[in-house]
């Protein structure tokens, strides 16, 4: 697959909330954020603070109550296959095979004819070339998540939004998928926005880590991780950043 032209993303004084029985539950509070094309950014924050909401805004599944969301200068008015969201649960369509799931995007846009080699390639990229005919219930958690990533990649997303995609996996599968993600990001050249609750994962993968306050989410800290890939978790600079981030999150390290 050829590399894609990555999208930039900018949030300009964005506030958002949900209507709950007539009252607005504030979720994002005046968030301003710029992500350069091709950058890999990780979002960290306490659970329920609004990270998924931020990704839904970036995907265009929701429109902000206040402020502007733009992708490479164009206002985001709705979802589009340029910006694809991979959910925490793989959310594969259980009535479709793995291959059928990967084909869903091109099929829905009427672009499926002639796409078979691309589908094969996407399956190969995530190591599922032998599981195309399997149904989702036959997959392990890690395989399902890889299938969901293939379903996103086949559309050549220019911005890949990852909502804790490795959150529920065992640690060994996580390590492997983290490596896979970095490799795909380097090969394909898309912009990546990753939500995670794992400080170490953020530091291993991202160019920049952004820290959010409890709901309503505000940006409270931002660190650059200027280390080349492949990174080692015992890298002293990463360890120092980790302590810094944990302190900012209010966690005592030795507990």
């Amino acid at each position: 697959m050829p590399a894609v032209t990555p999208l930039g993303l900018s949030f300009d004084h964005v506030s958002h909330g949900y209507d709950i029985r007539g009252e607005v539950l504030p979720v994002l509070d005046d968030v301003s954020l710029t992500i350069a094309p091709g950058e890999f950014v990780a979002l960290l924050g306490p659970s329920g603070c609004g990270k998924s909401t931020l990704l839904r805004l970036a995907a265009g599944l929701e429109l902000p109550l206040r402020g502007r969301t733009e992708a490479s200068g164009q206002p985001i008015t709705g979802p589009g296959p340029d910006r694809i969201l991979v959910f925490q649960e793989a959310t594969l369509f259980p009535w479709r095979t793995v291959r059928g799931n990967v084909e869903a995007g091109p099929e829905a846009r009427g672009e499926l004819p002639g796409k078979a080699p691309r589908v094969d390639e996407a399956l190969r990229l995530v190591g599922l070339e032998n599981f195309g005919e399997a149904f989702p219930h036959q997959l392990s958690g890690g395989m399902a998540q890889r299938a969901a990533i293939a379903r996103a990649l086949v559309n050549d997303p220019r911005l890949l939004l990852l909502d804790e995609p490795l959150g529920k996996l065992d640690s060994l599968t996580r390590l492997n998928l983290q490596k896979d993600l970095i490799r795909l990001w380097q090969d394909r050249g898309f912009t990546a926005l990753l939500v995670t609750h794992d400080v170490e994962e953020a530091l291993l993968l991202a160019d920049r880590v952004i820290l959010f306050s409890p709901r309503p989410a505000r940006i409270i800290e931002e660190v650059q991780v200027a280390r080349p890939h492949p990174r080692r978790r015992d890298d002293p600079q990463l360890i120092a950043l980790r302590s810094h981030l944990l302190a900012a999150l209010g966690v005592l390290e030795d507990v």
């Binding site: 910006r83 369509f93 009535w95 379903r151």
Partner: protein, 327 residues
């Protein structure tokens, strides 16, 4: 060592296949044989048709089981699975035969011995076949119109909030009304009684399909739609490729219910001045106290319904193979 083990097992299996007896088959042969003997040798309290034929028929079946029991290689695996059923059926026929034809404990017009039913099939088969054809036409038209309309209505109700706002209360109001209550209405609306009957069958099969399809579609995990939207799917694709397949397990529950209701309503539907049909046959013969004919007709209906249920199951298994645990 593994060699000796395998030969040992091979020998054992060989020995088993040589001397194995299908015990259930043997018992079934006894049960059916006893029925045959009792029917042949004991006198009937009243004259029934087809007593001799019934004795011969059960005797042949007994012989058939006997042969299968000692010829294991020609025995079909599904047949042996139903062995216990064959035994119980044979015993049931025996008890039935003795209590009706031989002892007269169960009185005449209301209970008929098995040869009474056999007599009906032998003497009345031409009329029964015509009735099956008529009922088949009525049921086929009614059921397929009903489930198609019910499915479309269900999709609309499940997908569109506005459609559900008006439709759901109506459906809940109509749903519990018994089919017979519709007869005057149906008569008035439809120009022919046949169309009115089709309407009743369609209503009975369509309503459960509509309700279950609607609830199935309303229950679809919202994230599936989010995924589809980020992939660039339009509404139409979301309905046909997400909402409907996701709701299909529910739709099938509705289809099964619709199938049962449609059979239950056949008798009522054929009350509307039909001249043939199984439902008509049941009523006609009930009116003349010809209960043997009634049982014979009921048995045919039950078998037809069971066959259709089985067919529906195999369609479901084929379409829902993706569900965990079905295949």
């Amino acid at each position: 060592m593994s060699d000796t083990l395998e030969t040992g097992r091979g020998h054992y299996a060989f020995a088993e296949s040589q001397f194995h007896l299908w015990r259930d088959g043997l018992f079934a042969a006894f049960a059916w044989g006893a029925t045959s003997a009792v029917t042949w040798f004991l006198p009937d309290v009243i004259q029934w048709g087809a007593t001799g034929t019934f004795a011969i028929l059960t005797g042949i079946i007994a012989l058939f089981f006997l042969v299968l029991a000692v010829l294991p290689r020609q025995r079909h695996a599904t047949l042996s699975h139903y062995g216990p059923w064959f035994i119980v059926l044979g015993l049931w026929l025996l008890v039935w035969e003795v209590t009706t034809a031989k002892l007269g404990w169960l009185p005449k017009p209301f209970f008929s011995p098995p040869q009474g039913l056999l007599h009906v099939y032998l003497s009345n088969w031409d009329r029964l076949l015509i009735c099956i054809a008529y009922t088949g036409r009525l049921w086929g038209l009614g059921f397929f119109i009903g489930i198609s309309a019910g499915f479309l209505a269900g999709v609309g109700l499940g997908w569109s909030k506005r459609f559900a706002y008006w439709g759901m209360p109506l459906l809940k109001l109509i749903g519990p009304v018994p089919a017979s209550a519709w007869i005057p209405c149906a008569f008035f609306i439809f120009p022919s009684t046949f169309q009115a009957s089709v309407f009743l069958v369609a209503l009975a099969s369509g309503i459960p399909v509509a309700i279950l399809t609607a609830s199935g579609i309303a229950q679809v995990n919202r994230s599936f739609y989010d995924v589809a939207r980020t992939l660039g799917a339009a509404n139409r694709w979301q309905v046909t490729k997400i909402a409907i397949p996701a709701a299909l397990p529910n739709v099938f529950v509705g289809l099964f219910m619709g199938l049962y209701y449609s059979f239950a309503v056949l008798v009522v539907a054929e009350m509307l001045g039909a001249k043939f049909g199984l439902g008509w046959y049941l009523q006609f013969n009930t009116a003349y106290s010809a209960y043997a004919n009634v049982y014979a007709g009921l048995l045919i209906m039950a078998l037809l319904c069971a066959g259709l249920v089985k067919l529906l199951f195999s369609i479901r298994d084929r379409l829902l193979g993706w569900q965990k645990g079905i295949l």
